[in-house]
Symmetry: C2
Subunit: 284 residues, 2 copies
């Protein structure tokens, strides 16, 4: 496995046409969720292709007071996991490689990014779009793989890629979970034992909401809120029931809903989501 | 010459590796200035390479009340000029090809674009950056050629390309002028005869400023203002003397100045600029 730390060296990867290149952008602190993305990338790349994993804790996507400085950076372990997973190239730039002096250009998605996590994390998706577009341009992969846990992120990146004519396939892989349903996240490591014990309430509430029949979005939202609020350490940031495609309010043309939420446990903010067939009264 | 109107057809151009591709982005209404860009692109592309000219009057770079709808669109003439100039591909999309339904992603340069034309044309450079990045992604040229008349535009595009790791060379070509010094612009066609007669005052004032010796930026600005204001139909938008590289206020490290200005003649806004060696008292 080759480790590359500068954009110019990473850029040389593209000089081998005919060998598919698949990128898995991460912030490191790798867990089984990331490994499933790498596995999917490996399959997409095929026997002749190459998998590039980027590890970069992107300052531009953290707001003031967020966990940028304390975000875990266990690089030796990450490197070993990548090696074992058959990654071909690990791109691991320093911040000043990605944001050189006088950096002043940002990419803004101005619709899908406004609600949900965009509300409580001002500037987050601007940072995500900017760094993802930079990684796309540096690596020039044929495809890039993202996790479905970050549902809004995937929607924003797809929209950005479409709007800016980025010639890269955006592929997703399902959320990987602990046995008790908690979605894997590098931030789970922050949870104190009593918070960790209550955190699976999120998944239980979402599963229950998926089973509920003939319930309006407003009622679904209330139900999920009630379920999660029953956990004494949970502090709800948002619960939203939206059109899964547009992330708008569900309308008469909504076929699939997404129920998405963010919940604080102490200083740790967890997100999760689930899909559900829309039950549309106008269509009966 | 091939005429292409959709992004997907334009994208197929990139499928011939080894043949350099050089892009000249324009809004049409081609004049000798554009033809000099095409000529430069032809030289850069070499005998095996191809030159792509895009003609697209980009709604996103016009503010409310600006001349988007009346901007000239003499397509048959433009096509003939491209053909005669040896252009290989003319990319001529409709607005809804470039801005499909639910378009919501924009590229913002947040420093160099703020002053000068950015002050009086809110959102202009956001529109420019967005459309240029889209054209870069659609065509994927090796190089793109821009005119030096649009000095701030070139600086903004260079900065954007650097910041977002766009793998495309940004090349410029000198401003082409009428015999009396007026910089060629598609907007010159708007000038009434008496406005046209006075417009060369811009170039005369800039040439005089370049010759002035040991004069401070503030004094240079006043001098150019005085010269231009002497033309009764001229209404000055801005005159600025800046570091040619950073577009910041000249400082002790400034080697080269740019004197840039925008001047209204009736409803027509003209821009021009000139370079000048900095005379830096700190360096004596």
């Amino acid at each position: 496995m080759k480790i590359v730390r500068t954009a110019s060296r990473a850029t040389r990867l593209r000089n081998e046409p005919g060998r598919p290149l698949v990128l898995v952008p991460t912030m490191g602190a790798l867990h089984a969720g990331h490994l499933s993305l790498i596995e999917k990338a490996r399959r997409l790349a095929g026997p002749r292709g190459r998998v590039v994993v980027s590890i970069f804790v992107n300052p531009a996507q953290f707001g003031p007071g967020e966990d940028y400085s304390r975000y875990p950076r266990p690089f030796p372990r990450d490197r070993r996991l990548c090696e074992e997973a058959g990654v071909d190239v690990l791109f691991h730039p320093e911040p000043d490689v990605m944001y050189p002096a006088e950096f002043s250009t940002y990419v803004n998605e101005e619709r899908i990014s406004l609600g949900l996590c965009g509300l409580s994390r001002q500037g987050h998706f601007r940072g995500v779009c900017t760094v993802v577009l930079k990684l796309f341009n540096i690596i020039a992969p044929d495809a890039a793989v993202f996790g479905e846990k970050d549902y809004q992120q995937v929607a924003v990146i797809r929209r950005m890629a479409r709007d800016l004519n980025v010639p890269i396939r955006v592929v997703t892989a399902p959320t990987v979970r602990e046995a008790d349903g908690l979605a894997l996240s590098s931030r789970n490591a922050y949870l104190r034992p009593e918070e960790r014990a209550q955190a699976p309430v999120i998944r239980r509430a979402l599963l229950k909401a998926r089973e509920a029949e003939s319930v309006s979005p407003a009622e679904l939202t209330r139900q999920v809120r009630r379920e999660i609020a029953a956990a004494p350490l949970a502090k709800i940031d948002y619960i939203a029931v939206l059109d899964a495609r547009t992330l708008d309010k569900p309308g008469p043309n909504t076929g699939e809903l997404v129920i998405a939420c963010a919940v604080w446990f102490g200083r740790t903010r967890l997100i999760d989501n689930i899909h559900k067939k829309a039950c549309n009264p106008h269509k009966h």
